[in-house]
Amino acid sequence: MHESILVYRKHRYLKWTLALMGVATALYILHSPVEKPNGGTWLGYTLGVIAAGIMVWLTWFGVRKRSYSSASTRLEDWASAHVYLGLSLIVIATLHSGFQFGLNIHTVLYVLMMIVIISGMFGLYFYLRCPYLIAQNRRGMTTETILAQIADLDRELRSQSMALDDETAAAIADAVHKTRIGGGLWRQLAGSDPSCPTTRARKMVERGADEELQDTRRQILSRLTKKEDLLARLRRDIQLRSLLQIWLYIHVPFTLGSLAALVAHVVTVFYYW
């Protein structure tokens, strides 16, 4: 019913990919061209055409993912095959190269492709790991609930802080008005805020020894602690969800980069035939 893309359809695409890699490897071992094995032998051309086809097909995933009316297959078929065929490129493209590397555009293409594949491996790991962590971390709450809860706490903190001394009140005002959740790329990926005004305010309230307002302080402290917990949860949530996306900022641009290098590779090989 719910199947991960790795085990989808009883590893159908893993089997296909293993078969493809097996055939390619066997042919490579049996193949003994006149020259050193490279992309110019009949096997080299064959593997090159297959690898280029796979690359273009893998890139097409970005279009297929958004072609919502495509009824032929489930997107999970594509995703599962995307993962396995993408990994198969490590074998196919390396055999296509005949293990010849150098300071040239062909190796540039190989490096770009490997960047895409490795970023994809990270992505796959995040896709398999983060959803569980997100669910654990949220405990059934949505981001809206968490935000609304924080806003409620803020409102209460603001009214309760009226009675406190200026310094503490200002700290709490900062906690209410200046606490930022998420933000820039690094802040999102960090999953925490070392200079969080709420933490500062909590520490200040903890230090205070105002006898008369002991009760108020205790209430404020418990609210600040609660808010801190919610903030940590939300920041962790942001971190995990940004991990689900950040790899794509490497994966997608480098996919297009390697597509350009692929065009250059194919054109120049025939330019100097």
């Binding site: 719910h2 009316s69 489930r74 959803p131």
Partner: protein, 267 residues
């Protein structure tokens, strides 16, 4: 079970929705079975299957609580429910986008909203109840059940909002249709126009999503005529529900109540 085993009835049955029950006497039942070997064989096969299932359930008591949870969410009275496995869901919202793009830019699904239990998430989406609450008070009689079981609203909707308030699960919305159609390549290459499932029209329906403090669903254009929209199980679209087809990780699945046992056993 008791009909065949001659034991006192041990199962507790709780109805998930309005149910008609009949009383069978063991002797009469056996008499019928003795007359027809085919019926006997099939009943006995069912009997063994039940025994096996019961044993499975006894080994994993937590599976029972999953069923309990699903029943509480009204999934029991549904015929076809969207369930999301939180262990697989990558929050890409492709299900919502697919829903919007197959339904004139309006998603009938809110993935994030809705309760979760043991990593099983019930998003806000129509359960296609056996006895739909929405159908009960529709002035133009616009809500129907298609032969395949899906409950849908036809074009005669007058936008009265009765169904919206009658639905206990909040899956019906009143919305106007968006103006601009999503242009895949224009958006993909140049960022032209709204992205899939994006932009104003979508925000009109889910206006409260980004601004929880705002005043709800009437953020849209007051002049336009609103229609009630809900999941129609992608009726008339090849390949089945778009939300499930568009899920890249296999987190979304449509499940009918008969499969709950399997579902619970698998978890």
């Amino acid at each position: 079970m008791a009909l065949l085993s001659d034991q006192p009835r041990s199962a507790t049955v709780r109805a998930a929705h309005n149910t008609e029950t009949i009383c069978l006497s063991g002797d009469a039942f056996k008499a019928v079975m003795d007359k027809n070997a085919n019926i006997r064989a099939s009943v006995e096969a069912k009997f063994r299957e039940r025994l096996r299932q019961n044993e499975q359930m006894e080994e994993r008591p937590e599976a029972g609580s999953i069923i309990q949870f699903l029943i509480e969410q009204g999934v029991g009275e549904g015929t076809d429910v969207l369930l999301i496995d939180e262990k697989l869901c990558i929050h890409c919202d492709n299900c919502e986008k697919a829903c919007a793009e197959t339904h004139n830019g309006l998603s009938r699904l809110d993935r994030e909203a809705g309760p979760s239990f043991q990593s099983l998430h019930v998003p806000t989406s129509c359960r296609h109840c056996q006895h739909p609450h929405c159908m009960s008070d529709c002035p133009p009689d616009a809500i129907h059940r298609a032969p395949d079981g899906e409950v849908f609203i036809d074009d005669s909707c007058i936008g009265c909002g009765n169904c919206e308030s009658n639905c206990p699960y909040g899956v019906i919305q009143l919305a106007t249709l968006p103006d601009e159609k999503f242009d895949l390549f224009g958006w993909l290459f140049f960022g032209k126009g709204p992205g899939p499932g994006e932009e104003d029209a979508y925000a009109k329906v889910n206006g409260n999503k980004q601004s929880a403090g705002g005043n709800g669903t009437d953020g849209g254009d007051d002049q336009a005529i609103k229609r009630a929209v809900k999941c129609d199980m992608c009726k008339g679209i090849d390949g089945g529900a778009a939300c499930v087809r568009a899920c890249p990780t296999g987190a979304a699945a449509r499940v009918s109540p008969e499969k709950f046992m399997t579902l619970a056993a698998l978890r």
